[in-house]
């Protein structure tokens, strides 16, 4: 009114989403569980990207971390143990516009669902796959997982795990058509958020291994890493996120890494002390399977009927 021009208006989007719009049921993870930090990071990405909740789908398998979709206020699919990836790929196959986050654990992804892990990476469909790696089966109460450190006592190996653990990032970098592999930790929110954000921005399957603390069953597994940041190697440059100066200062060990160099990525991935965090590899040019599975999407009924008659003709006598 006073002094304002008639045509002045604030350019407000029809809908604005705040964090609350992504907050589902109260998380029932144990106090101190690393999953909570990941949940918060994903909700922030959704808010920052203004993802409409109805076009966002969180898919999971079974396990503690697979409760993830229940705590988001988006569409969700809490399916079968080990089978999050085929479901996520199926959703994406004919609905490429949906944004997909997959929550899977070390048992879910690297053990019972290992076959799907190999192939989903090869399909390279656009989604963020978060491996919540707490090095233990939590929901079923402390059984050895493929990433349990050798010697750690569990209910299935009370005298200590027998075999050396599997390295999820090194394994993923060995799969055909891999396009994005990153590693981060739940206890550094800045790095966690920034890494997931880069993963979200990548078109293709972004595989992010998140070292995740389990206060109940593997409370000491990551303690050293957490207490002594020099045991982590912050990857810089390339596609790795740039941390603000203050956050970056926390990491005495840093290394410039060319994330477009697969061989370099494999060398870095094999390293466990110090443990690399950041983007190990990214290739935006790898083919995405949905570019093939969406063939004919939106074909009109009339065209479908025409096509069908032509198919009938092939069998006509």
């Amino acid at each position: 009114m006073f002094g304002l021009k008639d045509d002045w208006e604030l350019d407000v989007p029809d809908r604005y989403f705040s964090l609350e719009d992504y907050e589902g049921g109260t998380a029932r993870w144990c106090p101190g569980c690393g999953d909570l930090a990941v949940l918060t990071a994903v909700q922030r990405i959704c808010r920052d990207e203004q993802l409409p909740p109805e076009r966002t789908v969180c898919v999971s398998g079974i396990g503690c971390s697979s409760r993830f979709p229940h705590y988001m206020k988006t569409y969700g699919f809490h399916g079968l143990h080990g089978r999050a990836l085929p479901v996520a790929c199926g959703i994406k196959s004919r609905r490429p516009e949906l944004k997909i986050f997959v929550a899977t654990g070390d048992g879910d992804c690297c053990s019972i669902g290992a076959g799907h892990w190999v192939h989903a990476v090869r399909y390279n469909m656009d989604m963020v796959v978060m491996l919540f790696d707490n090095a233990i089966y939590g929901l079923t109460k402390k059984q050895t997982s493929p990433t349990t450190p050798i010697g750690l006592s569990t209910n299935t190996h009370p005298r200590g795990a027998w075999l050396p653990p599997l390295n999820p990032v090194a394994a993923t970098l060995g799969f055909a058509n891999v396009s994005f592999v990153a590693q981060t930790v739940d206890w550094n929110p800045a790095h966690l958020y920034a890494t997931l954000k880069v993963a979200y921005d990548h078109k293709g399957l972004s595989f992010v291994r998140i070292l995740q603390r389990c206060p109940t069953y593997t409370k000491d597994v990551f303690t050293e890493l957490q207490k002594d940041p020099s045991q982590l190697l912050l990857l810089t440059g390339g596609d790795s996120p740039t941390l603000d100066a203050q956050s970056a200062k926390m990491f005495p060990n840093q290394q410039a890494h060319d994330s477009r160099d697969l061989e370099a990525a494999r060398r870095v991935a094999d390293q466990t002390a110090p443990l690399p965090i950041g983007v190990l590899f990214r290739d935006p040019a790898r083919p995405c399977y949905e570019d093939f599975t969406t063939v004919g999407l939106g074909m009109s009924p009339a065209d479908k009927l025409k096509g069908l008659e032509r198919e009938f003709d092939k069998f006509a006598v």
């Binding site: 589902g24 049921g25 409409p52 909740p53 109805e54 076009r55 789908v57 969180c58 898919v59 979709p69 229940h70 988001m72 206020k73 988006t74 569409y75 969700g76 699919f77 809490h78 399916g79 079968l80 089978r83 990836l85 085929p86 479901v87 996520a88 790929c89 199926g90 959703i91 994406k92 196959s93 004919r94 609905r95 516009e97 949906l98 076959g115 799907h116 190999v118 192939h119 093939f292 599975t293 969406t294 063939v295 004919g296 999407l297 074909m299 009924p301 009339a302 065209d303 479908k304 009927l305 096509g307 069908l308 008659e309 032509r310 198919e311 009938f312 092939k314 069998f315 006509a316 006598v317």
Partner: protein
Amino acid sequence: MSTTTTEAARARPSAAPRRVAEHIVEIVSDSGEGAQKAGQTYGAVSAKMGNGVWTVEIIPAEIKPPARSRAGASGIRVRVGSEAVTNTGDEADLVVALNEQVLYGRIEQKAYRPGTIVLLENKWATDPRDDVREAYAKALGEFRALGLDVREVPLEEACQKVAQDVRVGKNMFVLGMLCYITSRDLDKAFEEVAFVFKKKGEQVIRKNQDLIRAGHAFGAETLELRYEIPPRKVDRAQLVLNGNQATALGVMAAGIEMVAMYPITPATSVSHHLAGAFQNVGGVVHQAEDEIAAMGFAVGASYAGKTACTVTSGPGLALKTEFLGLAVMAEVPLVMVLVQRGGPSTGLPTKVEQGDLLASLYGQPGDTPKIVIAPATIEECLHFVVTARKLAEAFRTPVMLLTDANLATGVQPIPRPEVDADWLSPPLDQTPWQKGVTAYDWDEDTGLSPRPIPGQAGGEYVLTGLAHTRLAKVAYDPHSNQTGCAMRSRKLAVLRESLKPPVVNGDRHGDLLVVGWGSTLGSIEEAVARARKDGLSVSSLHLRFLSPLEPGLKEIFRRFRQVMTIEINYSDAVDAPHTGEHRRIAQLAQVLRTHTLMDIDCWSNVAGQPIAPRAIHDELVRRLQKNGGNR
């Protein structure tokens, strides 16, 4: 071309064709000799002429079995009739055999009778190898002792006169010979060959046509055999295809856009047909990394609003079981085509069985009511997919469609469907979700509820395989799981109410009612018709809905003194030791007993073969004679 036809016919004017109502021919050979292509062409020509046709391939389990081996029989059977043909029939009237060893396998399978004419390649009589000549001579004696009318024919020698490479040309020569024997229209054979070899070019087409012509002339000059199978009038356009091709067309006609599969015999060829054609109607085949992933992919696509289909066989069903349970629990519409083969385990991959009924109905942990339907004909293979997709969406549930190896590989002419846009899936609903409606807003009376599709604002929910409330919230309380199970069960009860009681084939009361399901329809009805002609009081009934069962069964069964199922799955023989009243019975019989509390008997086997009408007829006669005096 037509002049050649007349010339050939003129060459032996004395051979007046014998008119028959139907004729069964087999071509058997080592694999790779093209018998199947010859037989398929012969079947297509017959269908084009207006005859009823049923073609079935004889497939060895191995890709390249050793030559001249009993188990390596590869080939094809074609039953041609004046009327519609609904099954593979009894024993063959005529066999063309490219070597004598492969006949043994078929004899074991009771494919021939005394008097079956065998045109046997005679080059083996003069083979340089002693053992081959001996085997040939021995077989000749044995076949004749069985009553087969073996006629030695110099097929290769005659074929050599026109073909450079006999190995690849002999099948077309045989086709020409068969066209002579059963008075097929040669022009139609030429047309068919031109179509089949279209991609290979003019020269190949001409060569094959020359071979057919030569085979035809050879028949006219040397064989004392000629039949005529008058065609019926066909008033509708027809498609000639097998059950798997029909299923593939059904998927397309249903407007399904996604088929996720993993290779498994005998289901895979559904995907083969789709792989080429599907994108012409806006669909895509996903070959997954395993059976479980194929099912998961289909469930994912369906959850996202694109009702998908997965195609598998017994071992694949076993692997998909957990996802099937999830689809029931979380009410995900989905079509699962199960092309049954012999079991258990890897079983008989290329052979027929109806052994997965109970696994389909009850194979998942917990209570998993779902819709299970079984097409009984090749035509139904097409139409039932369309029905299945609609039922899946209307009832928010997976629908299983059970076919089998017999339907999958049998080839038959069917009326060309007249498809309209209603058959196709509706467009994706992306309108905002109605406020106040929950994700599982079960109607207490019907168990039905509307389903939110990702993209519908306000409908956000988390699908879970855990027990859940109407809000899709995980719930471990005693009430919620009871309610969820009741709601899912109620949907089937509601569907059952909407179905009509099945129609009895024959009198609505009598001494014996035969109940069947799936691919045995043709054989059962043919056998029942024969038995009724003999004066036996027998009728039959064929179920298409196995879950829920069609209504009114008890009322129908009461009007018969005996009710029995005929199925291709295992049951203990009546006189099997140690069984007595604990005899294990066939699968549908078990289901019907539970359903009706009536004493329902069965007759079944797991020989891996379609049950021939004669075998059924014999069993009907045996039963009715045994129990005939009871009245």
